[in-house]
């Protein structure tokens, strides 16, 4: 059974989606989707545990050995991603029913859940595969379902956001396809391990260089790295609350994984640094993203859009870590990836509760929410503290590793910049605190209802995510050690 484990985290949602489409009653479909997601999470966790014990696992689909067939290759890096994505999917589905039910008309709920499972299958497939073309196929599965999920938002602007995302996303995917075509023409193979063996001999080839640039640009479009982030804020703002939670916590993370996989596993890093000053490009773009994203976030009148811009900024931190190119840097990027999923999960989940009650996420309507929804608001603040990087929260751990990695390379301006970025984050989280607790509730005179918390399921998941931010701030072994092991194997450092 253990030998079949690598396929399960993808196969379960892949089978679950069409089965879910056969269920006519939305409640049944929801229960089924939850079961699928939880099983997927369980399988992913077992898989990660197995990888810890016995090292990277390979699985030949169809029984054909790589490079002739498609291979699944699970190591610590994608094991962690699988756990993260399926875990977030389970939480969103388990807790999000009330929110989904409120925002989608009854006849569409079943299809909404099917699209959600397809998105999960696509993201898991991207993470698990060891074949570059298979990666493209699953990328498209996740993208197409994401477009539909974003378009399910109530506002008509959701449609335009989804359309722009579709155009940008497809350009990105086509760029990746061009890159894959180029490396296939050079090497004759599509298997990542095989490519990694064959590409170093082509370090001087201009075609390989062009291929790498196309793949990086394509992935960065999906990652929403500044200045390719234009689709993200609108898509996150207008998508249904649960879709925003899921996308913010997973989609950009999977894109970051693809970036790391291509830069460090497929194209060895020595080769890529030879080809262009990639470090500088990544670090500069990351810094710009941090500052531009945070500055724009501060001035948004809408909290959801503000948090979306904050995601652009946080992606910047991760890319800075990748750009450092050292073991510490990549480890920091991976830790931040994990922790950011927790932070943004908690923040958007809490916001979903508020939107459920208020129907709006404008700052002007959030006044005095601290009294109305004390638990939700407390979770929001906790998530915000984690985002800033307060000691005792998960955010502190990732900022700490980033600063240490920068200090290791004696790039003191980076240390300063990372700290300054945290200050900006503090500014926009302060606006939230101000609105929640320090402004009198409701100037317009309509009597505020006392104590109207979000529905129990939503609230439970919000609290769980907020507490996870504290837990992983105090006991950070899981992300730190997994990320450390993954970074070590990516950079070929023998330590484990």
């Amino acid at each position: 059974m253990l030998s079949q484990l690598p396929i399960l985290p993808v196969l379960l949602p892949l089978l679950g989606a069409p089965l879910c489409a056969l269920l006519s009653r939305p409640v049944v479909a929801w229960a089924f989707a939850c079961a699928v997601a939880v099983l997927t999470f369980a399988a992913s966790t077992f898989l990660l545990a197995a990888v810890w014990q016995q090292g990277a696992m390979s699985y030949a689909l169809g029984g054909w050995d790589a490079p002739w067939g498609i291979e699944y290759r699970i190591d610590l890096l994608n094991g962690l991603i699988l756990v993260l994505v399926s875990g977030m999917a389970s939480l969103v589905l388990l807790g999000g029913r009330a929110s989904i039910w409120q925002e989608t008309p009854e006849r569409k709920r079943g299809m909404f859940l099917v699209a959600f499972l397809l998105c999960l299958a696509g993201l898991q497939g991207i993470a698990a595969t060891g074949d570059v073309f298979n990666l493209f196929v699953f990328l498209e599965i996740s993208s197409l379902s994401t477009y539909a999920l974003v378009a399910a938002g109530k506002d008509r602007r959701a449609l335009v956001a989804a359309f722009n995302y579709l155009i940008m996303g497809t350009i990105g995917a086509t760029f990746i396809l061009i890159g894959i075509g180029f490396i296939y023409m050079l090497t004759g193979t599509l298997n990542m391990t095989d490519l990694a063996e064959r590409l170093p001999a082509l370090a001087e080839s201009r075609t390989a260089f062009a291929a790498f640039v196309f793949i990086v640009v394509g992935v960065c479009l999906k990652l929403a790295l500044f200045p390719l982030h234009l689709w993200l804020p609108s898509a996150y703002t207008h998508a249904p609350s649960m879709v925003t939670v899921f996308l913010a916590a997973t989609a950009t993370k999977v894109a970051l994984y693809v970036l790391i996989r291509f830069s460090f596993s497929v194209f060895r890093f020595e080769f890529t640094t030879l080809a262009l000053p990639l470090e500088t490009v990544f670090i500069v773009l990351g810094l710009v993203a941090v500052f531009a994203g945070s500055m724009v976030a501060i001035f948004q009148p809408d909290l959801k859009r503000g948090l979306a811009y904050s995601s652009v900024a946080q992606v910047g931190y991760m890319v800075i870590g990748v750009g450092m190119g050292t073991m510490n840097g990549v480890q920091a990027a991976l830790i931040h990836m994990f922790n950011h999923a927790l932070m943004k999960g908690a923040l958007f989940m809490a916001l979903a509760g508020i939107v459920y009650q208020l129907g709006s996420s404008q700052f002007s309507s959030l006044r005095g929410m601290g009294q109305r929804m004390p638990v939700t608001c407390a979770c929001m603040v906790l998530g915000g503290l984690s985002l800033i990087g307060m000691p005792g929260t998960a955010g502190f751990v990732s900022k700490w590793y980033l600063v240490v990695a920068a200090a290791d390379r004696e790039q003191w301006f980076l240390v300063v910049a990372i700290l300054a970025g945290s200050l900006l984050t503090a500014v926009y989280m302060w606006r939230v605190v101000e609105a929640f607790y320090l402004t009198p509730a409701d100037i317009d005179g309509a009597a505020p209802k006392l104590r109207s918390e979000a529905p129990a399921g939503l609230l439970a998941v919000t609290v769980a995510l907020a507490l996870a931010n504290v837990y992983f701030g105090l006991d950070s072994r899981l992300p730190v050690e997994t990320a450390g092991g993954a970074a070590a194997s990516l950079l070929g450092v023998p330590v484990r």
């Binding site: 892949l14 169809g62 054909w64 379902s145 477009y147 201009r206 260089f209």
Partner: protein, 330 residues
């Protein structure tokens, strides 16, 4: 001679693409897209990619223009002459990308060379071993349905996702379903017209041809996807002639949705059978005592799954588009 045909086709492709940039108005653009699809299909034939040519002809010159036409029937053929504030930005982006592409070609293996790495490393094994391992002459089908069967499962899932997405986007949530049989049919001409009669004669043959393509895919160009598209086109033709309600009476949308899911499941469950048989996912050798027979059975079954899925999804997408069109016109 081959080079001559090659150059002529490529020049026509360039001319079509340039015309697409110059032309204003969506109707003309759609016709040019269709021509582009047909030309590229012809180009694929000269490049020996017959399966791809078949698909591109069905999709690029058939389904895509059909969906575009239905959209334009709603939104109108007008195309504004946009005076962009940043007219230079797109030009700059395109120039940069193009320059990078040209740089990329410089170290490429020469065109048509049998020694190019792409034609050396992995693919010769497919050509040499297909006969012994899979036992069918069409190597493209063998790679598609067995060596890289998982990609094709992904492909079926992509088209299924498209169906789900279109339903989620287009079907209204307030109970105005697809099949309102009371709607006046949009293109009702005289029932005895030439188009009507000829099409009614042709539809059975179209269906027959789809079945031929479906089951002959192991030996010649064709397979589940192409067959699915052709099968769906027969229904779409019927719908265009007699109106949406008529075709919905033949096969209601809910049935189509169930069939689409079943098509994907047929494929995936074949893979699960391999798992139950103790082999890896999609290893068809467990399906029969003899591995080669097992492969053959597996390929037939999964091609059928793809065919059912593709046909149903395309019919469902057509329903969604046509129903939306009807609703907006009423």
């Amino acid at each position: 001679m081959e080079i001559f045909v090659d150059v002529v086709l490529l020049s026509m492709l360039v001319a079509t693409a340039v015309a697409l940039i110059l032309v204003r108005g969506l109707m003309a653009s759609i016709m040019l897209t269709s021509i582009y699809g047909l030309l590229s299909a012809s180009f694929f034939v000269t490049m020996d990619a017959v399966d791809v040519a078949f698909t591109e002809a069905a999709v690029g010159a058939g389904v895509a223009p059909l969906l575009l036409l239905m959209t334009v029937a709603l939104v109108g053929r007008r195309e504004e002459r946009t005076v962009s504030r940043h007219a230079l930005v797109p030009l700059l982006l395109v120039t940069m990308t193009g320059a990078l592409l040209i740089v990329g070609t410089l170290d490429m293996p020469p065109f048509g060379s049998a020694d190019a790495p792409a034609n050396q490393h992995v693919s010769p094994r497919y050509l040499q071993h297909t006969e012994a391992e899979i036992g069918i002459p069409n190597v493209v089908t063998a790679v598609l349905a067995s060596y890289r069967a998982y990609d094709t499962l992904g492909e079926a899932l992509v088209i299924f996702t498209a169906g789900v997405a279109v339903i989620l986007i287009l079907v209204p949530g307030d109970g105005r379903g697809t099949a309102q049989a009371t709607l006046p049919d949009p293109i009702s001409g005289d029932r005895q017209g030439i188009v009507h009669v000829v099409s009614k004669i042709l539809i059975p043959f179209v269906l027959l041809f789809a079945l031929y393509v479906q089951f002959h895919g192991d030996y010649g160009p064709g397979g589940g996807f192409q067959a699915g598209v052709i099968f769906a086109s027969a229904f779409i033709l019927y719908g265009l002639l007699c109106g949406l309600p008529a075709v919905v009476r033949v096969i209601p949308p809910t049935v189509v949705e169930v069939l689409a899911a079943l098509g994907v499941l047929l494929y995936a469950v074949t893979g699960v059978l391999s798992l139950l048989g103790g082999k890896n996912f999609l290893d068809y050798s467990v399906l029969a005592s003899d591995p080669v027979t097992g492969q053959h059975i597996g390929i037939i079954v999964i091609e059928l799954g793809v065919g059912i899925c593709v046909a149903s999804v395309i019919i469902r997408i057509y329903y969604a588009f046509a129903a939306h069109l009807d609703r907006q016109r009423v």
